[in-house]
Amino acid sequence: MSSLSAKGVARPPGQAAPVSPFTSTLLGEERSGLLQRLVEGLPPEMLQWLSGYLAGLAAQRGPLQESVPAAAPVPQAVPEAWLTIIFGTQTNNSRMLAERLKSQAEASGLSVRLYRASDYPVRELQKERLLYLIISTQGDGDPPDDSRGFVEFLLSKKAPKLEQLRFSVLGLGDSSYPKYCEVGRVLDTRLAQLGATRLQERADCDVDFEPVAKGWLDHAVGRAAEELAPRTSSAVVTPLRTAPPAPKHGKEAPVVAEVLVNQRLTGRGANKETRHVELSLGDSGLTYEPGDSLGVWPLNAPELVADFLSVLSADGAAEITRDGRSLPLKQWLTEELELTKLSRPVLERHAALSKSAELQRMLTPEGAEAFRALLKSHQIIDLLRIWPAPWTAAELVRTLRKLAPRSYSIASSQKRVGAEAHLTVAVVDYTAFGTRHMGTASYFLATRTGDEERVRVFIEPNERFRVPRDPARDVIMIGPGTGVAPFRAFVQERAETGGKGRNWLFFGEQHFRSQFLYQTEWQEALKKGELHRISLAFSRDQKEKIYVQQRLREEGKDVYAWLEGGAHLYVCGDAQRMAPDVHAALIDVISTHGSKSREDAEAWLSTLRDEQRYQRDVY
């Protein structure tokens, strides 16, 4: 909600400055009177001081509501000219930017309404004058979970004409995905198509979103101020609090955690290495909830850095400057830059340098499929080796993306492990093009085995992946592979909380013998009654492949009965194949055992999603 100071000045137009009788619905008759008398005849600088004083008071009486308003605000409390900011997020980057935009806008005296997409009452769109949309892209060009409804509505025929609306979109994304910032792009086009006017060009932010986002935000505030500027500037206040205090921890302020345990979970004969990593949060005061992820800032593998140096035949000690910072090449490559994940900008530059027609084709619309395949199968080093190009070290350093942190679902509950965070890490380690390839962060974590090893981490809250508030609710958890990680946290949490709710886990991997992650813990939990049911699918233990979705269908009757009984449903793990297959299986189960048409089943399931009873954390 907008702050008191801002509201104080946002007055119906056409009234004489500086101050004249008015009644604020917020303050009510009496207080309005008092305030009126108080400010009567005060000189501007006094008013300035007072506004700051009040803002300070407000700050002392507990922070201004940071979180998102659940319901739409009381309409008449909203001045006629206001800015509405809507964000859609999975890992809170968009939210963080949206909140920053809000406070910057308020700081320049605008009245602002901030909404999470899922909370926005779409019918109000026609009332909006000025809308800023900050939204990320998930899955394979999909909206974040909290924005599905909003996006569906906007793209549907139900979407109203929006001639009255001026807008701008900030898209968040990752250029190593083929559908880069897809959602932002699509909504930007759609709003225009619905008749709205683009107030400012859309910007797309890559994982290192700060630079682009900052530019867009600053400009956006300015444009909004112009749009909404009250005729008189006299009462535009600058409260003391201009921006929200920088959070103590976060992506940019990670905590250094000590590695307590780094244990391989997969046995002999497993085709994969999956590890259990226990980190100490020490006295950082860092706290998390089951369902949250841990952001990990990795370093690139020394071997890979060496490979880059030899491909460039450059000297690691050479000083190179980027963004005004000058560091030795080796340090750029080890600490600062993304060396594995290929991204569009890097490919574009490389295609140009290498003069490879093949690569250049991939960047055209016809090349889309080849491009997609390339991203999946090639790391940057492969590009450099297969399509040689005359890179200079300096140019490469300036072209490569900033190294981005990786997320790992937290596999523990603080109610059980205190100031620790446990992770379940599948180590990306494969051979391609005749050489061994590693994943930056998973390999980095896998090799933090010595004593005194430290890792820079931060919490990525995810309140859309939470155990039911009511411990009496049953839960069905579908988490094959490392998707099981958050459910280890869930089961610990619910065991520590107590409560009658039953826990049903669906787990799958390739082999029972070597890849039954946390097997002995699940056996314990079953004995103790902390886990009530487990359904297992080991795909390669028999001729025909068996996956969790098949178990879901086999157990369909009970699955449906549990859901009917109010159970919450969770899916975590692979986004490409597993999540869609599981979704399809759920539709089957619901239509078969709830004797519903596919459409009704779909509807039933999306109601479940809206009630936050069908939550997914897929990657």
Binding site: F512, Q519, T520, L526
Partner: protein, 569 residues
């Protein structure tokens, strides 16, 4: 042990009682997807069906840290009276091992096969496969009569044929009557009385402990008849089988540091004509069934029943049940308890080739492709195969003209070890031990090749390389390779450490004695060195190493005179 109120029955007795004739919760256990193991009580019952739950001890600790349960798998043991099977059956077991087990076959010291590493999910298919090959695993383990051994004597096949037929009948006669095996493994539907089958011989809770029968055909004592609960020694005139001498109360098993447990040689109690064989065996079993100690597993074998109550008591108890008395034992002589390697011609002119298979392990290794070789042989062989009590294999009933082909296959696949190996290596036995045996304290099978080479070096140094010295190694004192009858025995005490026993004969008629306790390889070689030297210097013509160590007083002579000496003429 005289206590006022009768001590409680052992847990296993309770499990057997509740088991509905050995069914227990096996079906449920097999269906449980969360573990590769079966319920604790079922691990006792599954033995009666011929299988043991085991786990890979090499990876146990590592898996604990990986939050994985032990790598459970199952050992499956066949019932193979007298160790005789057809080439088709060999091929079937080979195929089953490739598909479901660890790709090796293990010939045991009781003339049977063991498959290792069968995971729970494959147990039923494996059992079904074995059954389809007209073989079974019933009573291969458990508190019942185990695989009945008999000398696969290829030299005089007429007597052998007859003795073998009796062996088959003994095994069949003493089988449990429960249909549990068919219901659990072969999905045969329940018939009336399922779960309450009569067990007229074994009783509703079966025997107090395992029970073993072996039949020897002198002059060979390859079955070590004195180590059996019940032994029969064939007495024959020329080609005519007259009957059997009866020995009772033998056994090897002991526990380190528990004086109440010990190996024991069986007592010779008389002679019976062939037609009394089944009746006598049945009643010996019944005496043990009714008097064996069901309160302590360590004290439950027939040898302790007899040790506690006296052999005189036993004979009279037996004879009362028989309603007649045994005839006086007949004279016989044992020459040795080893195998006769190489080609031997039988009475009908056909040939028999005895192959050396170290520790009975049939596997393909870079050195020798034994499994493949025997597969090739099984494909062309028209006779049968016979497993010996010394973990070796006889390719029996080969017509003269087929010998060359077999010889070629034998040579081509490194199966001709018997031609090249030193006498020490040829006759040595080792039990399975690590990594599958849950009771192993030290290596045995995996250690045998190394220790034999070290010993051969020393023997050679003393010019003893041609001496036929009998070495047996076990990973623990249970004595699965019958070590207490060897001239040199190593009995596992801890990883890399063994108790050294000396002074057995090569006829299976004298127990050896503990010579040094808990010593490592260096010490073993160290203490044997002077004995080899003395043996080389002071032995009498034809005197074996074991006999020498006793005569020269390096080990004390056994308290009781060796069993048959009183009779052997």
């Amino acid at each position: 042990m005289s206590t006022t109120k009768p001590p409680a029955l052992s847990d296993v007795e309770h499990i057997k009682t509740k088991s509905r004739r050995l069914r227990g919760t096996l079906v449920e256990s097999l269906a449980d997807p969360v573990t590769g193991a079966i319920a604790a009580s079922d691990t006792q019952l599954i033995k009666f069906h011929g299988s043991y739950q085991q786990d890979d001890r090499d990876s146990r600790e590592e898996r604990r840290q990986q939050k994985l349960e032990p790598d459970y798998s199952f050992m499956i043991r066949t019932r193979l009276p007298g160790g005789v099977l057809s080439p088709a059956q060999w091929l079937a077991l080979d195929a089953i091992s490739q598909q479901y087990a660890n790709g090796t076959l293990r010939l045991t010291t009781r003339q049977a096969f063991q498959l290792h590493g069968v995971i729970k999910g494959n147990l039923k298919s494996t059992m079904a496969g074995i059954n389809a090959a007209l073989l079974d695993t019933i009573s291969a383990c458990g508190d019942v009569n185990r695989n009945v051994m008999c000398n696969p004597n290829p030299v005089d096949s007429r007597v052998h044929e007859e003795v073998y037929r009796w062996t088959m009948r003994l095994s069949e006669h003493l089988l449990p009557k429960t249909r549990a095996y068919y219901e659990v493994w072969l999905d045969k539907e329940k018939v009336a009385g399922s779960g309450e089958e009569e067990e007229p011989i074994l009783g509703s809770t079966y025997l107090p402990r395992k029970f073993k029968i072996g039949v020897a055909v002198p002059p060979l004592n390859d079955v070590d008849v004195y180590s059996q609960d019940l032994g029969f020694i064939a007495i024959y005139e020329g080609e005519r089988l007259l009957g059997f001498n009866v020995v009772v109360g033998g056994g090897m098993g002991a526990t380190h540091g528990d004086a109440a447990t010990f190996p024991r040689l069986a007592d010779l109690i008389g002679f019976i004509p062939p037609e009394q064989l089944l009746f006598v065996a049945e009643n010996v079993v019944k005496v043990q069934r009714d008097y064996g100690d069901r309160t302590s597993r360590k004290h439950a074998r027939l040898k302790y029943t007899i040790e506690d109550r006296g052999i005189a008591w036993f004979v009279s108890e037996l004879e009362t049940r028989l309603g007649f008395s045994l005839q006086p034992a007949r004279p016989f002589t044992f020459e040795h308890n080893g195998d006769l390697f190489g080609w031997k011609q039988g009475h009908d002119g056909r040939w028999h080739l005895t192959l050396r298979l170290e520790s009975g392990r049939v596997a393909d290794t870079p050195g020798a492709r034994l499994l493949t070789g025997l597969r090739e042989i099984a494909r062309v062989h028209k006779g049968d195969f016979r497993l010996t009590a010394n973990q070796n294999l006889i390719i029996a009933g080969v017509p003269a003209e087929a010998r060359a082909e077999i010889d070629a296959l034998v040579a081509a696949h490194g199966l001709d070890g018997f031609r090249r190996s030193s006498p020490l290596r040829l006759n040595a036995l080792a039990c399975v031990a690590m990594p599958t045996c849950g009771l192993a304290m030290a290596e045995a099978e995996r250690y045998l090749p190394q220790i034999v080479s070290r010993l051969d070096e020393r023997l050679e140094a003393h010019g003893l390389q041609k001496e036929k010295i009998l070495l047996r190694i076990t990973g623990c004192p249970n004595g699965c390779a019958r070590p207490y009858l060897a001239e040199i025995a190593l009995v596992g005490k801890a990883p890399g450490r063994y108790n050294l026993y000396l002074g057995g004969d090569v006829r299976g008629q004298r127990l050896n004695r503990l010579y040094r306790e808990n010593i490592d390889e260096a010490t073993i070689l160290g203490v044997l060195e002077p004995l080899f030297a003395a043996y080389a210097r002071e032995r009498r013509p034809g005197e074996g190493f074991g006999d020498f160590t006793v005569r020269a007083g390096h080990v004390s002579a056994p308290s009781s005179p060796s069993p048959s000496s009183s009779l052997s003429s």
